[in-house]
């Protein structure tokens, strides 16, 4: 099992979600996040006072899939979330030891 954490532009949540549904991904968790990578923030002016906003609103999608599907899911997210501009985000992958379905104690891949 692999956990896929994708940090994407806020405007890309619907295209990514729809694309994942299309390839049969059944579950995901979506978080509203703030952060920045190489993309620096922007400045705002309120009555002449300048504020630098360097933590920019982003969307973080978390999902855990069986190892055989990882490449397909990653490619789906990348193609749906890409604009080609700086600030498109990143995807992180990590190994998951186990999973538990709370409703009925199922373990491992069958709990996904």
């Amino acid at each position: 099992m692999t956990k896929i954490e994708a940090i994407i532009q806020t405007s890309k949540i619907d295209p990514v979600k729809d694309a994942l549904h299309e390839i049969g991904v059944e579950g995901m968790t979506v978080l509203e996040a703030r952060g920045h990578g190489r993309q620096k923030g922007h400045t705002e002016f309120y009555r002449g006072r300048e504020y630098t906003v360097d933590l920019i609103p982003k969307i973080k999608i978390e999902l855990v899939v069986g190892d055989e599907r990882v490449e397909q899911v990653v490619q789906t997210i990348v193609s749906a979330a890409r604009t080609g501009k700086i600030g498109d985000g990143k995807i992180f992958l990590s190994k998951i030891d186990d999973a538990v379905r709370i409703r009925n104690d199922e373990r491992g891949d069958s709990a996904l």
Binding site: E44, F45, Y46, R47, G48, R49, Y51, T52
Partner: protein
Amino acid sequence: MQVGMAPSTSAVPDRIAALEQAAADAKGSADNSWMLASSALVLLMTGPGLALFYAGLVRRKNVLGTMMQSFAMMAAITVIWAMVGYSLAFGSGTSFIGGLHHVFLWGVGVQSDPDYSSTIPVQTFMVFQLMFAIITPALITGAFAERMKFSAMLTFLLLWSLMVYDPMAHMVWGKGGLLSASAGRFPTLDFAGGTVVHITSGVSALVCALYLGKRLGYPEEPMPPHSVVISFIGACLLWVGWFGFNAGSALSAGGLATSAFVATHFGAAAAVVGWSAAEWLKRGKPSALGAISGSVAGLVAITPASGFVSPMAALAIGLVAGVVCFWMTTSIKSRFGYDDSLDAFGVHGAGGTVGALLTGVFASSVINPIFKDAGGKALPSGAIQGNFHQIWNQLVGVVIAWVMALVGTLILLKIVDLVIGLRVPAEEEAEGLDLTQHGEEGYHWGTST
């Protein structure tokens, strides 16, 4: 002649008297209905108008504390106005302050008082003026936002209302007042409160900002408005309520009210254009906060002029006020480094002063024949008609309002500071006024379903 007409001829004088009475009653009812509506509109300016305008500009931990400062004025000033405030402002007395003839609203009934208006009940006049007495101290709260104790704020503003507002209102609008336009030693033209409301509150705001000092972390720490959306709604309500403030100051429902209504709207609109254009040129973008701040600046500046100037003069006054107040809040404030948190001085002090002086320039006897010779013939009002001396009179009114506000506020702040202490402790300021002063929070998103 027909037989049936004969008895009525003797009753003609009676019938004329009855018709005159009916006509007077009709005018009285018309005037009174507009004045009651205006009174409600002016209250709408404080709550929710000003409360929302200010609350959006603070950080989210202070949203309720900021709203409560305006709302507390709606309650506390009302009580003190009934007990003694109205009498001090509008009772007969000296040229500086009214007497105690009307304490506890003694003698303030449904009869009219010809010194103020012969067509509306004096009780209507009293409640209309009360709404002005409420919003004026509420305006000051913008200067000490996010750091003053609720108890100290309440004590200070109640004393301020008695010691600064009531004498100033008496001098300009009260019978026998020093600055009264009709009979005063220095006839100052102030239709709806450029000196009485906006200079006194704006200058007092500056004193408060200097005396209390900056908010913790200002100006290094960013303190952007927590919701310009809330401020936007508040500013729009202020604009609407201001029609009652200015057009209601005609104290009647005729042509003068229309003239003040139109001037008010044109002044506000021109100031939005002025502020936004200045911001667009200087910053590259016209902001929503800039546009709504411009409207308030224009409304402030047109207030003293509203019942004296033509629509074109109102456009000019608004345009000047928009640019001046933009410059005051963006350049002057940062140059001197005081923390007038919500720009009560930059908008009300500066806008009120600009408006009061320009009233002396643009006032016209065609709009309002306020000055008359012994034969009742209208005399020129402002410099635009050749009465350059009026600018001097306006300056006297402006200086007296500035001095009253500076001295009065400084003394009262000192007293309240010694007795109660003005600022919340540093750790409470960091935690926010909502929790530390009122024991509640404005927003519970995420924790309550």
